[in-house]
């Protein structure tokens, strides 16, 4: 792994630069103090980033009596699963999770199936088509949802796809395309062109080459991209809120907001329990693909 420059810097300096001994020694001392400071700062960051999630878990396992207490504790004194039971009683969580699952799986599969060929063109084609596609990917990052949602609502209404999972899936597919294209194009660029040239010599056309030579090599990247599209769709709220009206059709994030009630006076225990459960799939999948996503994102962003 990368070594911190500070470690070697001062020592080398001691050998090579004479005539600045006082600066030298202080440099070494602050190095050690700085290290301690760095650990302290890192600890502060971790506390800041982790404490809300710890609190969510703690609340989810607390019995009602502890939740009502004026002096809440970090660790539940009598942990219970009552909140989970109550959450399933109060709202149709299983049905909502089923809807979310169908929407997210379909959107992820369709997205990678149609994005892979386009990403291949973006990475390998040298024409205006590829430039335009890349341009759309960049511009769509800045797309104003507010301007798009009303027409989308009207278009889907005309297609009789409002209040259906299929309408939502279509929106999710298009909505996850920019990121999928960006990732996949980065993976394609990493495939050596010699293989494709060899396939071309053997008489394979572009489509054939993509299907039987490039796609198998991309498989890990395609899986990572599909999982990311799944997470995005699983977590999405705004489109689902606007496009799905009846409770039987709604996805998990929308149903979660029903726990909040009209005045926002929520039953904290079941709310926390349901929120915790809804997060688990995303967290688990994200742990799997974390390295690939961060790598793929930057492969496209950083020029060598």
């Amino acid at each position: 792994m990368r070594r911190a420059p500070e470690r070697r810097g001062p020592m080398r300096r001691g050998l090579l630069t004479r005539g600045a001994p006082d600066r030298e020694s202080t440099g070494l001392r602050t190095g050690r103090a700085a290290r301690a400071g760095q650990y302290l700062a890192l600890l502060a960051y971790l506390v800041f980033l982790a404490f809300p999630f710890v609190w969510l878990i703690s609340t989810a396992f607390k019995p009602a009596r502890e939740l009502g207490s004026l002096h809440p504790t970090w660790i539940p004194e009598n942990p219970t699963l009552d909140n989970f039971r109550q959450a399933f009683d109060e709202q149709p969580l299983l049905q909502a999770a089923g809807n979310s699952l169908v929407a997210a799986v379909s959107a992820a599969l369709i997205a990678v199936v149609i994005a892979t060929p386009m990403a291949y063109v973006m990475a390998r084609h040298r024409g205006r088509l590829a430039t335009a596609a890349t341009g759309w990917v960049v511009v769509s990052q800045a797309f104003p949802f507010v301007l798009v949602i009303i027409p989308l609502f009207l278009i889907l209404k005309n297609l009789h796809l409002i209040n259906t999972l299929w309408g939502l899936i279509l929106v999710y597919v298009v909505w996850s395309l920019p990121f999928a294209l960006w990732m996949l194009a980065g993976y394609v660029r990493a495939v050596p062109t010699e293989l494709e040239e060899a396939a071309a010599v053997d008489g394979a056309g572009r489509v054939r080459t993509l299907v039987s030579v490039v796609a198998p090599l991309l498989a890990p990247g395609i899986v990572a991209t599909a999982l990311f599209a799944f997470i995005t769709a699983w977590n999405e709220f705004f489109f689902a809120l606007v496009l799905l009206k009846t409770p039987e059709k709604q996805t998990l994030p929308v149903v979660l907001t029903h726990f909040l009630g009209a005045e926002g006076v929520a039953d904290l225990g079941p709310l926390a329990a349901a929120a915790f459960l809804a997060t688990l799939p995303s967290l688990v999948l994200f742990a799997f693909i974390q390295r690939r996503i961060t790598g793929g994102m930057t492969a496209g962003a950083v020029k060598h």
Binding site: R13, A41, G135, V139, T193, L260, A278
Partner: protein
């Protein structure tokens, strides 16, 4: 918008005016053909890519993009000039710029717009500084760095709705950990953060900062790992302190990424919806009513499609101008140095 050009490729600068003679897999000998833009420097990309094959491969994604992304955008702009409403039997009329004239005098909208700007800047700037600090730390050879890296991206994986719910539990006046900590430290009784007129906006801004930390940190970390280490060592040899090394070596290397991610963050934050919807629904008294929430209510609660679309247009226009000014200013600032 850009992909519209993809549908009319036979522009004036295309000598062939069509696809004839440009399809297929010709390109023998790797000779660049007319109508092909020379590629950026780098290794040659094998033989030329047939246009017909390219179209065939792009089409499955292009059609949904045109229907559900480019189309709606243009449709949305058109709607802003109509009196479209939901559930009305009378047909929609063109009304010119009437919506925009109304909007000009709509003080509620401009209040909301101001709140949106405060929110977007108030989230983006601290978020960038905090993420930069975290990225610099994670780039060091510290123990437990793997754990820190894993924890640092947890907020990224969470549904925004859950983030909102989680922070409501933290901010809860009675059962929340924030007020409990304040009471433990003897700093008073705490307060009702999300419903207090003065505290609601700062409270949601803090959540916004928390939620967007991972993306920013990961992007900056990638930039840092691309900084040439030799430069760092050379600077250290010359006796440059940590700050000087940051100013002269690190910052120039990560500046493009820093600009890109902060510009994107500004847009994303300005378009933010779910977090604040869950945290406060825009209350108390509209103190946290971001423009997205305002437009959502206008469109889907009151059914004023045309008017809401006009709001969208204004939001996009103002944000574009601000971003252009920011980017031009930053890039110029870089040239002077």
């Amino acid at each position: 918008m850009t992909s519209v050009t993809a549908t009319k490729r036979s522009g004036p600068d295309d000598p062939h005016g069509g696809r004839s003679g440009r399809d297929g897999h010709g390109g023998q000998g790797g000779r660049p053909r007319k109508g092909w833009r020379p590629g950026p420097p780098g290794p040659p990309r094998g033989k030329a890519f047939g246009d017909r094959a390219a179209w065939f491969l792009v089409l499955p994604a292009l059609i949904p993009i045109l229907i559900l992304s480019v189309g709606p955008l243009l449709y949305g702009i058109a709607l802003a000039f109509t009196d479209a409403q939901s559930g009305r039997t009378r047909s929609t009329q063109w009304i010119g710029t009437l919506n925009f004239q109304d909007l000009l005098h709509d003080t509620l909208f401009w209040d909301s717009f101001r709140i949106g700007l405060v929110w977007a800047v108030g989230v983006t700037v601290p978020q960038f500084l905090l993420a930069l600090g975290l990225a610099l730390l994670l780039n060091q050879n510290l123990r437990l760095r793997w754990l820190a890296r894993a924890l640092a991206i947890v907020p990224w994986a969470m549904p925004e709705v859950v983030v909102g719910i989680m922070w409501r539990l933290v901010y809860n006046p009675d059962a929340g950990i924030l007020n409990e900590t304040i009471r433990d430290l003897g700093l008073g009784d705490g307060r009702d953060w999300l419903t207090g007129l003065a505290t609601a906006l700062p409270a949601v801004i803090l959540v916004g900062i928390w939620a967007g930390m991972p993306q920013t940190t990961v992007a900056l970390l990638a930039g840092l790992q691309n900084t040439p280490r030799e430069l760092h060592e050379a600077a250290a040899l010359d006796g440059a302190g940590a700050w000087r090394r940051f100013r002269t070596v690190t910052w120039p290397a990560i500046k493009p990424i820093a600009l890109a991610i902060s510009a994107l963050n500004l847009i994303w934050n300005f378009n933010s919806f779910a977090l604040v919807y869950v945290l406060t629904s825009g209350g108390p008294g509209g103190r946290t009513r971001l423009p997205m929430l305002f437009a959502y209510e206008e469109a889907f609660r009151y059914g004023q499609f045309g008017y809401a679309a006009a709001m969208g247009c204004v939001m996009v226009a103002v944000i574009s101008v601000l971003l252009a000014l920011y980017l031009v200013g930053r890039l110029r600032g870089g040239e002077d140095r």
